[in-house]
């Protein structure tokens, strides 16, 4: 399949910071690539280069068959950009915003007007169409922003953290819109720091950290690299933990179990799936261990991220390495919700933001490199 987005060796430095440190990307037509990484990993910089907003210091990029550096204006005809911060004019109404973008896409006044009406209806904004965007909720603004990006139905779309800061309901709604778009054949490059989002929307995922793509594959492939499934048991009382652990260790595949005292939770890597679960329950019952919860857990992309980078995907500075270490455990779960970040907080980071956020010690860094090596071997075999 031909590539709709292709990048080779993209480098961009802001002063001392290498925001992009040799990024290669290849997105076949009609597919979705999720660019996954923490704040400051270089995701936004990559999008800005590919959408002609920023000139890279090195490398080349081709979007919709056109060289981004040589013919930026040609590229602009074929792309839609929906940003992290809904870029709509808040003093214009929804309708005026869309008509303006249509006119700037060189549509005739009549076409721009028609197109605006169609899009407003599709994005459930007809009722609010003649109110200024200032009065819109966050979710409505995002929808308007997305509609603005779709004014000419570009074959290639870029979405930079489309759901950052949205509440769960609005996020779900936006996801549906994106899925619909992709079903219609649009190629999409999506950046996100929410693993759940990449998991749901992307065919392929490229994990980015420190300006480099450190792993790439489908969600399942990435998860497979992290290791198999695990059984999680929550016992009724703390006193039961030692017995329960002994039982579980018997079923484990030798990877070592993990006990969390305060949540009364034991996690152990297993193979054997659901059948095993029944056996474990029987055995626990036989040893009179009362349990509150038991479940089979497949690795999430959180786990993937943690094992690849040595730090969690959305925890705050320094917390990742301490909490999780090399263990793809619950440490990665903290702070992945959209609610934990505010739009304004992230605002300052649009430009050369690479220096902020991720303080991975030298140890973790070595860990990362080792993991990359392992990945490459894994991919080759």
């Amino acid at each position: 399949m031909p590539s709709a987005i292709y990048a080779e060796g993209l480098v961009k430095t802001f002063g001392e910071v290498r925001a992009l440190d040799g990024v290669d990307l290849d997105v076949p037509e009609g597919t979705v690539l999720g660019l996954l990484g923490p704040n400051g990993a270089g995701k936004t910089t990559a999008v800005r280069v590919l959408t002609t907003l920023l000139r890279p210091d090195g490398g080349r990029a081709v979007v919709a068959g056109v060289d981004v550096l040589k013919h930026p204006n040609e590229v602009r005809r074929s792309i839609g950009l929906s940003g992290q911060f809904a870029a709509v004019d808040e003093y214009l109404t929804g309708r005026e915003n869309l008509r303006m973008v249509g006119r700037l896409h060189q549509l005739s006044a009549r076409d721009a007007k028609k197109r605006a009406a169609t899009l407003l209806e599709r994005f459930h904004l007809t009722d609010a169409a003649d109110r200024t965007a200032k009065t819109y909720s966050g979710g409505m603004r995002r929808r308007l922003d997305l509609a603005a990006a779709l004014v000419v139905s570009p074959p290639v779309m870029f979405m930079d953290e489309p759901t950052t800061g949205l509440d769960p309901r609005n996020r779900q709604e936006l996801w549906s819109v994106i899925e619909e778009l992709v079903a219609g054949g649009t190629t999409l490059l999506l950046t996100t720091q929410y693993l759940e989002e990449a998991d749901r929307l992307a065919h392929d995922i490229a994990v980015v950290d420190h300006g480099r793509v450190i792993a790439r594959g489908t969600s399942d492939q990435l998860k497979a690299r992290t290791g198999g499934e695990r059984v999680e048991v929550v016992v009724h009382e703390r006193a039961l933990l030692p017995t329960a652990e002994e039982v579980l260790r018997g079923f484990g595949e030798g990877g070592g179990s993990r006990v969390e005292e305060h949540t009364r939770r034991i996690t152990v890597p297993v193979t054997g799936g659901a059948k095993l679960l029944a056996e474990i329950i029987r055995e626990l019952d036989a040893r009179s261990v009362e349990i509150d919860d038991i479940g089979l857990r497949r690795p999430t992309l959180d786990d993937v991220f943690l094992s690849l980078t040595g730090h969690a995907a959305a925890t705050e500075r320094g917390a990742g390495t301490g909490a999780g270490g090399g263990d793809p455990g619950t440490g990665a779960r903290t702070g992945t919700g959209a609610e934990s970040r505010t739009g304004t907080g992230a605002r300052t980071g649009t430009g050369p933001d690479t220096a902020t956020g991720w303080d991975v010690g030298p140890d973790a860094d070595t860990g990362t490199r080792a993991q990359i090596g392992a990945d490459r071997t894994g991919a080759a075999s």
Partner: protein, 287 residues
């Protein structure tokens, strides 16, 4: 969201355009956008009027009668007429701050990124903004002229010359909005653009012939004032309005001898230089 209707995905075909026609239409779309904004935030326009009106009243009644005009002595009425060219010119230059703040806000809100990702003419975002500011400046001048008439300002030349005087004032204001555009693209916030657009305007407009005759200044200052681009327009509008008292000695400096030509030249040079710089800056702007 249903998937049966292909409307979202149906391509709308852009008309193939380019060149000058597209530059004009893009600029007009952007100007329209900025004018709508001004209508929706009328406070900005209203506050923009208060200061020059205050200046008209304060200068007329506080300084009128105590500032000596060569050729007219301390005649308060003569000073009032003399003053208006200065106030008009100062008022049009204040559009600088508005243009700068508007563009800085667009940068800040990510709108510049959106525009830069569209296949539109590069300079249109800035041209549209400066054109909208020009409209606002014209409205401000109309209101200000009415207030000036109320306090006793009169013109003593034919209509064509008077209109020419206002034309030069507007051109100066337009030129200064390009300075504002460059400031707006260079600073990090709308607030910085506002103050960055104003701080240098005060010395520039006071180190001129706007409020006091340059003849009364110490010689070093007098040279600065007489070659100040701003002074040329003040002098030109006074001349075209017929507001120079008979017997008022014209300074020897070339721009004071040929104020209309000097005013035109200065404005054109400012536009040429600052438009080039601003458009270049826009192309490489990172939000």
């Amino acid at each position: 969201m249903t998937t049966d209707d292909g409307a979202v995905l149906a391509p709308a075909t852009p008309r193939a355009k380019g060149g000058f026609g597209q530059a004009v239409s893009d600029s007009l779309v952007m100007a329209q956008r900025n004018l709508i904004r001004m209508l929706r935030i009328p406070e900005v326009v209203i506050f923009g009027l208060i200061q020059p009106i205050m200046f008209v009243v304060l200068f007329s009644y506080v300084f009128g009668g105590s500032i000596e005009l060569p050729g007219a002595g301390t005649d308060a009425d003569a000073y009032r007429e003399f003053l208006m060219g200065g106030i008009f010119a100062q008022t049009v230059t204040f559009a600088t701050a508005g243009a700068g703040a508007g563009i800085a806000e667009d940068m800040d809100k990510g709108l510049i990124d959106r525009f830069r990702s569209l296949p539109m003419t590069r300079g249109a975002v800035l041209t549209g903004r400066t054109l909208a500011d020009l409209v606002q400046t014209a409205l401000t001048l109309v209101v200000l002229a009415l207030v000036a008439l109320l306090v006793g300002w009169r013109t003593h030349e034919n209509l064509l010359k008077v209109l020419g005087g206002f034309g030069l004032l507007l051109l100066l204001g337009y030129a200064f909005t390009w300075i504002g555009a460059l400031i707006g693209l260079s600073v990090r916030s709308p607030e910085a653009a506002t103050s960055g657009g104003l701080v240098w305007l005060f010395p520039l407009t006071f180190l001129s012939n706007a409020f006091v005759p340059s003849q009364n200044m110490p010689s070093a200052l007098r040279h600065v004032a007489e070659w100040n681009p701003f002074s040329a327009t003040v002098q030109a509008s006074r001349e075209l309005f017929g507001n120079i008292p008979p017997g008022y000695p014209t300074a020897d400096a070339w721009p004071m001898q040929h104020p209309v030509l000097a005013s035109l030249l200065w404005s054109i040079v400012i536009i040429a230089v600052f438009r080039t710089l601003a458009v270049r800056r826009y192309k490489s702007a990172t939000g």
